[in-house]
């Protein structure tokens, strides 16, 4: 299997390089998509299925879609006009950093295991049996709460830039509608399944949110969903629901137990699932709006 790992690592590097040096944008983005899938595969090899799922769905899939959409709207890239000296300096710096990192990882002081025993000791009290979900929604829930704030901050920023051009209506043909009829409800079903599964197995709010966003995007492309036609207030409320529920739960837990984000004894799982439900809806809606763009709250034309 070590040969397979070596080949996969080499393929990852080649795909990464081709994504960053392709002369045309479509080629670069195609390289990036391949790169993301290969990376997800390598993480399965490293026993990180949760991360691989998220990378394939969000890191590669959704980012690739965002890139393709932007590439379609932008003028083709001009040739690089970077002076030779800057290239040399950058190459030197990059080689130095990569070399330093390589030396560092080859000279790691034996395995220092700090988190593992702590997670194992507390997993029983966390309400869920998937340790990644326990870390995200219980042990380090503050990180996750702030992460939702990052999503919303990005949306606020995009909205503050004002509206952009309306997308061209696409002709999608007769096969698309039956496809939507299967896929849109299925995405809701799969998202719910992933959400429920996240408590015990790989999955959870982020993967579920990404799947939900995929379903919403399919509807958007089919013309069945036009965010611009929905009043902005309710749309924002949908995006904010997850984090609002999360923050409210954090404060409610503080009122009930005296500690921020400490869920009441025995009820952890219900609290976590409720929060995750809100997060899933918000993540789906926020990612969709980051893709489609949105008009500022009250500035409706």
């Amino acid at each position: 299997m070590i040969v397979f790992d070596l080949m996969l690592a080499a393929a990852i590097l080649v795909a990464g390089w081709s994504a960053l040096s392709a002369p045309d944008r479509t080629g670069a983005i195609a390289g990036f998509l391949v790169f993301g899938l290969l990376v997800a595969l390598s993480w399965v090899r490293l026993d990180a299925p949760d991360v691989a799922l998220a990378e394939a769905a969000i890191g590669s899939g959704l980012t690739g879609a965002l890139m393709l959409r932007a590439a379609g709207r932008m003028a083709p890239p001009a040739a690089d006009r970077v002076p030779r000296a800057q290239r040399a300096a950058a190459a030197l710096l990059a080689c130095g950093l990569a070399g330093g990192l390589a030396v560092a990882v080859m000279d790691l002081p034996g395995a220092t295991i700090v988190y593992d025993p702590l997670v194992r000791a507390d997993l029983g009290q966390s309400g869920v049996s998937n340790p990644v979900t326990a870390v995200l929604l219980n042990f380090r829930a503050w990180d996750t709460l702030l992460e939702m704030a990052v999503l919303l901050a990005a949306l606020v920023l995009v909205a503050a830039l004002g509206p952009r051009g309306t997308p061209r209506p696409a002709r999608l043909g007769p096969l698309y509608t039956p496809f939507l009829r299967i896929m849109a409800p299925l995405s809701v079903l799969v998202a719910g399944h992933l959400l429920w599964l996240g408590a015990t197995a790989p999955g959870g709010a982020f993967q579920a949110g990404a799947v939900l966003c995929g379903g919403l995007l399919a509807l958007y492309f089919g013309g069945a969903l036009r965010p611009a036609a929905v009043p902005a207030g309710p749309l924002w409320a949908l995006c904010a629901a997850g984090v609002a529920v999360f923050a409210a739960a954090a404060l409610a837990a503080e009122v009930l137990t005296g500690t921020l984000l400490a869920y009441p004894d025995g009820a952890d799982k219900i609290w976590i699932l409720a929060i995750e439900g809100g997060l899933t809806v918000s993540i789906g809606a926020t990612l969709l709006l980051l893709f489609t763009g949105l008009r500022q709250g009250g500035a409706r034309a």
């Binding site: 090899r45 998220a54 932008m74 990192l101 990180d143 901050a153 920023l157």
Partner: protein, 104 residues
């Protein structure tokens, strides 16, 4: 410490080194490209390289259960990065829209 410490070739080490190489590639292209989209892609590749370091460090070798905490870090990082990427792309589109081809 031996003069040239070269540990056994394990999947963990291979992907660790791949992560280091990705960081180098991404930095180089990020610093030498004048195309906005390529620079955004480079930042994405950079973050994947960092994630590879986390995931490889979490792995404790074949058979052992990996540490879930860095996995949670990487999940958070992926979502954070897609948000920032969307913001960067929106800015890049606006710049492309408002200006001529010049980079002033």
């Amino acid at each position: 410490m031996t003069p040239f410490p070269f540990p056994d070739l394990t999947p963990q080490l291979i992907y660790h080194l791949a992560g280091a190489a990705l960081v180098g590639i991404a930095l180089y292209r990020g610093a030498t490209s004048s195309d906005l989209l390529t620079r955004i892609l480079a930042l994405n590749v950079l973050s994947v390289g960092i994630a590879a370091v986390f995931v490889a460090a979490a792995n404790r070798g074949a058979g052992a259960v990996p540490d879930p905490v860095p996995h949670a870090f990487v999940l958070t990082g992926i979502v954070v990065l897609v948000a920032v990427t969307a913001a960067l792309l929106a800015l890049a589109e606006r710049i492309d829209l408002t200006g001529a081809k010049s980079d002033d």
